[in-house]
C-alpha cells in the first residue's frame, strides 16, 4: 500500500517536475546570475541546464573579433564548488577557475577580449558529493552566461 502511494506521488512529480525545474532554473539564472554579468550585455540566449553531482559537460562557443566578453558560470549552492575551464581548439588550457586542489577561492567569471573571431571550449565539472548520508543524487541548476561589451555598455535604466 505504502509502495503504491510512493509510486503515485512519484508519477505525479514525474509530470510536474520538468516544467517546475525549467522555470526554477530560469528564475535562478535571472535572479542570481544575470546581475553579475553587468556591465556586460547578456546575449539573450537561455543557457541553463540541470546537472548532477559528478557530471561533466563541454561546450564550444564562438567569440567575435574585436569584442570584449565576460563568461559567467553560475551554479546553485547545493552543487558545491563547480569548476570551469576555457581551452583553445587545440585543447590548451587558457583559463581555469581553480588553480590547484588547494585553491579554495573559485572565481565564477572571466573577462577577456579576442582580436579575431574564434572558438573556445568551455568545460564544466560538478564535484561528486562526499560524506553523503543517503544515496539520492544531488542535482541543481547551472547557467553558463556570456555577456559582451558594447561601445555604450549598459549602465542601467532611468
Amino acid at each position: 500500500m505504502e509502495m503504491k502511494k510512493i509510486l503515485h506521488i512519484g508519477l505525479l512529480f514525474l509530470f510536474l517536475v520538468p516544467t517546475i525545474a525549467q522555470a526554477q532554473c530560469r528564475s535562478h539564472a535571472k535572479r542570481q546570475c544575470l546581475p553579475a554579468l553587468a556591465p556586460y550585455i547578456h546575449s539573450g540566449q537561455l543557457t541553463t541546464a540541470t546537472m548532477f553531482e559528478g557530471d561533466e559537460a563541454e561546450v564550444i562557443l564562438t567569440f567575435n573579433g574585436g569584442q570584449e566578453y565576460r563568461i559567467l558560470m553560475c551554479a546553485e549552492e547545493m552543487l558545491g564548488d563547480v569548476e570551469f575551464r576555457i581551452l583553445d581548439m587545440d585543447r590548451n588550457v587558457l583559463y581555469k577557475n581553480r588553480e590547484d586542489e588547494n585553491d579554495e577561492t573559485l572565481e565564477r567569471m572571466f573577462d577577456f577580449k579576442v582580436g579575431a573571431t574564434q572558438q573556445f571550449i568551455i568545460q564544466i565539472e560538478v564535484p561528486k558529493a562526499e560524506d553523503k548520508m543517503h544515496d539520492i543524487e544531488i542535482m541543481g541548476c547551472i547557467s553558463l552566461m556570456v555577456g559582451f561589451k558594447s561601445e555604450t555598455s549598459a549602465q542601467g535604466e532611468e
Binding site: A21, T47, A57, N64, Y95, F112, T117, Q119, E137
Partner: protein
C-alpha cells in the same frame, strides 16, 4: 523499497533534465568525460542532453553591434516593414519574423533610432502575441522600454531581456523548434543586413571579414535546426540554411593565434589573434544572392 525510491527519484530527475535541456543543440557539443568508457548509459545520456542546451549563434543585438563597428551608416530601407507583422498567419512565418523583427529592433536601437525602435517593438509584440508568448513582453516590460526608448544602453539591455524571455517561454512551453526558427530568422536578418552594407562599401575589409566569419555560426544554426528535422515547419528553413552552408564551404577562415596577455589593471585577458580570410568576389556574390533569396522567402506573406 529504498531502491524503488531511488530509481523513481532518478527517473524524475532524468525526466526533468530532459525537459530542462530541451532538444535545442549545436554541432559543437561533445562528451568529454575522460572516463566515458566506464560511464553508464544513463550518465552519458545526461551529459549529452545537458550539452545540447548550448548553441553558439550570435544574438541579434550582438550582430547589430558588430555591424555598427564596421563603420556602416544606418539605412532603414534595409529593414523588414514593421506594418506587415499582422499578416503572418502560420507558426513558421510568425517565428521566423519574430527573429527578423528582433534583429531589426536591435539594429534601430544600436543606431539610436528611437522612432523606428517603437515600431519594431510593436511588431515584435504582435508576433509574440500570435505565438502565445505575450508574457515575454508583458505590460511592465513594455512600459520600461517606452520609458527608456531614447536611452541606448538601457534599450540594449531591455532587448536582451525580451530575447531571453521569448527564448525561455518557448522552451518552457516545449516549443523548442519555434525558438530555433526565431534564432534562424534573427541570424538571417543579421546576415542580410551585412550583405546590404556591401552596397555602401563593396570592398570594406571589415564587412567582408564579418561576413566570412559567419561561416561557423551557420554550421551551428544548421545543427540546431537538424534537431527538429522531423518537424514539417522546419523543412524549408533547414533546406535553405544547408544550401547557404554549401556556399560558405568555399570560404576559408584561418586563425592566426597569438599569446594571451592579461591587463593587470582591468583584469581583462587579451587573446588577440587575427583571421586570414580567403573568399573570392564570386563566392561573396553567391552568398549575397542566396541570403537575399532566403530572407525574401522568410518575409513573404503567406
Amino acid at each position: 523499497m529504498s531502491r524503488t525510491l531511488h530509481l523513481l527519484l532518478s527517473g524524475i530527475a532524468l525526466f526533468g533534465l530532459w525537459s530542462c535541456s530541451g532538444e535545442e543543440s549545436s554541432d559543437t557539443l561533445d562528451a568529454t568525460n575522460p572516463t566515458n568508457d566506464t560511464l553508464s548509459v544513463e550518465v552519458l545520456d545526461r551529459i549529452t542532453k545537458t550539452q545540447k542546451i548550448f548553441y553558439s549563434i550570435p544574438s541579434p543585438i550582438e550582430m547589430a553591434t558588430l555591424l555598427k563597428k564596421t563603420g556602416a551608416r544606418y539605412d532603414y530601407t534595409y529593414l523588414n516593414d514593421p506594418v506587415s507583422s499582422d499578416a503572418f498567419n502560420t507558426t513558421t512565418k510568425q517565428a521566423l519574423n519574430l527573429g527578423i523583427y528582433g534583429a531589426d529592433l536591435s539594429y534601430t536601437s544600436i543606431y539610436n533610432e528611437s522612432g523606428e525602435s517603437i515600431l519594431y517593438m510593436k511588431a515584435t509584440r504582435t508576433l509574440a502575441d500570435k505565438l502565445n508568448v505575450s508574457a515575454a513582453i508583458d505590460d511592465r516590460l513594455a512600459e520600461r522600454i517606452e520609458q527608456n526608448i531614447e536611452i541606448q544602453d538601457s534599450m540594449i539591455t531591455l532587448i536582451s531581456e525580451v530575447y531571453w524571455n521569448l527564448d525561455g517561454y518557448l522552451k518552457e512551453g516545449d516549443r523548442n523548434y519555434i525558438s530555433a526558427l526565431m534564432v534562424a530568422g534573427g541570424w538571417t536578418e543579421g546576415l542580410y543586413l551585412t550583405t546590404r552594407l556591401l552596397d555602401q562599401s563593396p570592398q570594406s575589409p571589415e564587412v567582408r571579414t564579418h561576413l566570412a566569419e559567419q561561416k561557423q555560426a551557420l554550421k551551428n544554426l544548421v545543427s540546431l535546426l537538424e534537431q527538429y528535422e522531423s518537424e514539417k515547419n522546419i523543412a524549408v528553413t533547414l533546406s535553405d540554411m544547408r544550401s547557404l552552408d554549401t556556399i560558405f564551404d568555399q570560404v576559408e577562415v584561418n586563425l592566426q593565434a597569438s599569446t594571451p596577455i592579461k591587463d593587470p589593471e582591468t583584469g581583462v585577458t587579451d587573446f588577440g589573434g587575427s583571421n586570414e580570410i580567403v573568399m573570392t568576389d564570386e563566392v561573396l556574390n553567391q552568398i549575397r544572392v542566396k541570403t537575399e533569396e532566403i530572407r525574401g522567402r522568410m518575409i513573404q506573406q503567406n
